[in-house]
Amino acid sequence: MNPARRASDREGAHLLDPPLPFEMRPRIERALADARLQAFVNGATLERDRGRVRVCQEAFGADLEALRELAGQVKQHTLDHLDVYLEQFIDQATAAGAHVHLAADANEANEIALSLARASGCKLCVKSKSMVTEEIGLLPRLQEIGVETIETDLGEFIIQLDKDAPSHIVTPMIHKDRSAVARAFQRELGAPYTEDPEELTRIARRYLRAKYREAGLGISGANFLVAETGTLVLCTNEGNGSFCVSGPRLHVAFAGIEKVIPRLEHLSLFLKLLARSATAQAITVYTTMITGPRRAADHDGPKALHIVLADNGRTHLLRGESRELLRCIRCGACLNACPVYRKVGGGHAYGAVYSGPIGAAITPLFKGLANYRDLPQASSLCGACAEACPVKIDLPRHLVRLRQRAVEGHLTGFFERCVFRLWRIVLERSRLYRVATAMQRVFLRAIGARAGGKPPHGDGRWVWRAPGLLRGWTSQRDLLSPPSRGFRDWWRERAKEDKP
């Protein structure tokens, strides 16, 4: 971990870059105790999730499945031939006048950015959303060399002002309310206190416009990289991306190598799925396609375009079965669909740049399973994420595999290992199994007897409060005990009766 980065004044940095190994439990407990946070995150994500289902149904009807399958296949194909498509992208982008840099890891990516910034002499940088720059921790590094970098996406801007961290990869401030924004604007911008969202947005617009006009450097991410033409594609609703890549004289774009798609025509497929999956819109308001810096005849646009393609652990995922995870187009649909994400109050609980189901799957692979062993456990494997994913990543399967690897790597706790060893011993021996189930029946019926109440069928008894480990379960649910006679015995008796 870079000590200079720790010393940055961005307090929010520790939220997504915590001490390792990361302990998820304290953050979960804090979130569960915060009713307001829960209500916020719940409302925001549920609405988006339902919206996604609705607009996809309206637009595609029965074709949705086939479209998702096609999108998944195109992405998988690209990954299976990533070397070729990367080369094609590099060649095409270079032919269009861009400079393409290849960064093996975070350090290299930062060094490229810093040297470009230094050489340009720019002191002010305007930036639109880029997950890669969050991965590599670029902003504090730019700060160190005297380049003021302003996040221009409204949510990211507010979070930056408030020294906070984003809690969702698409809608970064679902955990913040308007009064927090009002306070931040008053404190940092000297603006009069107002909680009116329109007024707050106007304040931000005025402030950021001044920055757009002054900035010599624009940094962006890229939603897609088109190999066929060397084109960068940026999708925003606010238009901040367009400002960042059209105004400043130097544009540096960051993208993970997995963002490549083969042809321009494939954009039609991905654009139709992306915004619907992310924010229940047919398409983002601005889809900006950049192919090289300004042409000789253009009056405006960057004089120089530098594209930084980052590996930063992706070639590691490219091997074997985790390759599928690189299909991700960062739509956030899985975050919105995940009941666990909702309950734990959003992304901060995951302690990493990528949260939700996709974050739980890739963070341990990027940062080491021993460092983030809680993340794959934070799932009930309900499969909502797999159903939501527009490129059909089977996230539950990847989470299960990570759990397997945790067991193989002896990363599970002592108690858990004992319980599962006992479980296995019992299940492998039928006599022991029968004894265990009989004991369970007797026990549950005994404690159930005190509660009473008629069961829906059979003669099971309601257990309203179980002791010990089961207390947590029964605090929210009623448990129905097994009936007085087990299925095997019932079956055996029936078989006897049936015999002549």
Binding site: L102, G121, F243
Partner: protein, 251 residues
């Protein structure tokens, strides 16, 4: 930056910027590129270069949502309106007057204009003259500066998309990147013949342009918006808060 860069296709950056970057990290030429790609190939269990394979075909039947048989003008108008765009259907002859009325409604005194030379452009300029609006010349100032000080930007379009109600604009000698983006209002003059059915058609058209493709092509669907603050929808965050289309049906 100390040296002007000519930019343009295939030309390298000259001057201090290029020299500096040569010393840093992995450039896409030479050894750095090969090393990087070798790592990718190793992860794919491949040991040599292969040629560009055929990607899965884009099943048109599946992906296309709007076909040429439909009433594209009506569909475009409906979708654009749904995206928050004011659509005014008009004819060539009525264009100047309608433009004047629209600018009046937008309270736009000063405008910037990005139009290709055409009869349509002539009508727009006639309308601006008749309504006595000030046309600010964006070429007279650096970069996007001129657009910050006007009330509206008026553009034509490369195409419009019926499926989504979108406008497609591209930067070139006659079209600034800022006209549709910086002023608080954007007025687009769209011919019925500009409208293509589906997103698929746009990318086909752009592909056909090949090397001639603009350095910046934008698909804009409605006014700038955000819902970052408590999920409340607000327009006009960075880009224009008001977008209007003059849909000229007889051209």
């Amino acid at each position: 930056m100390t040296r002007e860069d000519e930019g343009g296709r295939g030309q390298k950056l000259a001057g201090p910027l290029a020299q500096r970057t040569l010393a840093v990290g992995t450039r896409a030429e030479g050894r750095g590129r090969e090393d990087f790609l070798v790592r990718v190939r190793a992860a794919l269990n491949r040991h040599g270069r292969e040629h560009v394979p055929e990607p899965p075909p884009l099943e048109e039947k599946l992906v296309r949502r709007v076909s040429a048989e439909e009433d594209l003008v009506a569909r475009f108008a409906e979708r654009a309106a749904g995206a928050g765009v004011k659509v005014v259907r008009t004819a060539m002859r009525a264009l100047p007057a309608e433009l004047g009325a629209l600018l009046e409604e937008l309270e736009a005194r000063r405008v910037t204009v990005s139009l290709s030379e055409s009869p349509l452009a002539a009508q727009v300029h006639a309308g601006l003259a008749a309504a006595r609006r000030t046309v600010v010349d964006w070429r007279a100032e650096q970069g996007l500066e001129a657009h910050y000080d006007v009330d509206a930007g008026i553009t034509d379009v490369v195409a419009a998309i019926a499926e989504t109600g979108s406008l497609v604009m591209a930067a070139d000698a006659q079209h600034s990147r800022g006209t549709h983006l910086v002023p608080p209002a954007h007025v687009a003059v769209v011919r019925a013949s500009d409208i293509v059915p589906d997103l698929i058609d746009i990318f086909r058209r752009l592909r056909e342009a090949g090397q001639g493709m603009s350095a910046s092509t934008v698909i804009v669907t409605g006014p700038s918006k955000t819902a970052d603050i408590e999920g409340i929808l607000i327009t006009g965050v960075h880009g224009p808060g008001r977008v209007a289309v003059l849909l000229v049906e007889d051209s």
